[in-house]
């Protein structure tokens, strides 16, 4: 094997190593950028949800030890406070605790009495309304025999013809 052949083989080997190193580097950079994009806080889905608050002020107020950094060749991005709070609120134990607290508060004596009083008042109100409507319907369907003001006026304007007894009394 000549010297030129050895040089050609060495150059080919160096080129292959360079290509492999370039490929590994590109892959590492892509992975790093993807991780940075994933850890970037997403915009809030609803502006009314306070748990999605991730305002720039809070991000700017983040201390230096919480900034993304590379530790032993790996990118470490500490979670933001909003992410910590959201995760804590999503744990089953915390959710159960929240539910039990709400139930206990709703079942307190004062709230219980208030709810019962509301129900009783609503029932009485509806019963009175229904009975009043029933009485009005009965009056509208069957007028009473008592002389009304209109009937009295009609009688005064047009007197009834005298009966036999009246004619016997007054000649």
């Amino acid at each position: 094997m000549t010297v030129e052949a050895w040089l050609l083989a060495a150059t080919t080997l160096i080129a292959l190593v360079a290509v492999v190193v370039a490929g590994v580097s590109v892959r590492a950079v892509r992975r790093l950028s993807a991780r940075l994009d994933f850890d970037t806080p997403m915009p809030a889905a609803s502006p009314l949800d306070p748990r999605d608050l991730d305002t720039p002020d809070l991000d700017m107020a983040r201390p230096m030890e919480l900034a993304p950094r590379v530790v032993e060749g790996r990118v470490v991005v500490p979670p933001t406070q909003a992410q910590v709070v959201r995760t804590a609120l999503g744990r089953p134990g915390v959710r159960l605790s929240i539910l039990l607290y709400g139930l206990a508060r709703a079942l307190r004596a004062e709230n219980r009495d208030r709810v019962v009083a509301l129900m009783r008042r609503e029932y009485r109100h509806r019963r009175r309304q229904r009975l009043r409507a029933g009485r009005q319907a009965i009056r509208a369907a069957r007028p009473t025999a008592a002389p009304t003001t209109d009937r009295l006026h009609a009688h005064l304007v047009e007197p009834r013809p005298l009966s036999l007894t009246d004619r016997m009394i007054s000649p």
Binding site: L48, P50, R51, L53, T55, L58, A61, Q81, A82, V84, V85, A88, L89, V94, S97, I98, L99, Y101, G102, L103, A104, R105, A106, N111, R114, V115, V116, L118, M119, R120, R121, E122, Y123, H125, R126, R127, R130
Partner: protein, 91 residues
């Protein structure tokens, strides 16, 4: 004479009381009475669930305040800017 009057008054009061109670029980067992009781139950359930929601929200605020006072302050500001919730009223 006095004893008879007392007994008469007691009997009349018992009769009035019993008739009112019987009329109310009869109304409660009728169809309109059952509808009214269901409506009252709905009002009670709404009030109960509203109170429970308030309690859950208070607990959530407490947890958020413990974990992150800055986020709690921002949440309080946001709640102040939102319209108030409606009160549950009968009728």
């Amino acid at each position: 004479m006095m004893g008879r009057a007392v007994w008469f008054a007691a009997g009349a009061a018992a009769g009035v009381y019993g008739s009112v109670k019987a009329r109310r029980a009869a109304y409660r067992l009728s169809a309109p009475g059952i509808i009214d009781q269901a409506a009252a139950l709905g009002v009670g359930w709404r009030a109960f669930s509203a109170e429970m929601r308030d309690g859950m929200q208070a607990r959530t605020d407490d947890i958020v305040h413990r974990l992150d006072p800055a986020a709690a302050a921002a949440q309080l500001q946001l709640e102040d800017s939102l319209p108030r919730k409606r009160e549950v009223t009968p009728g």
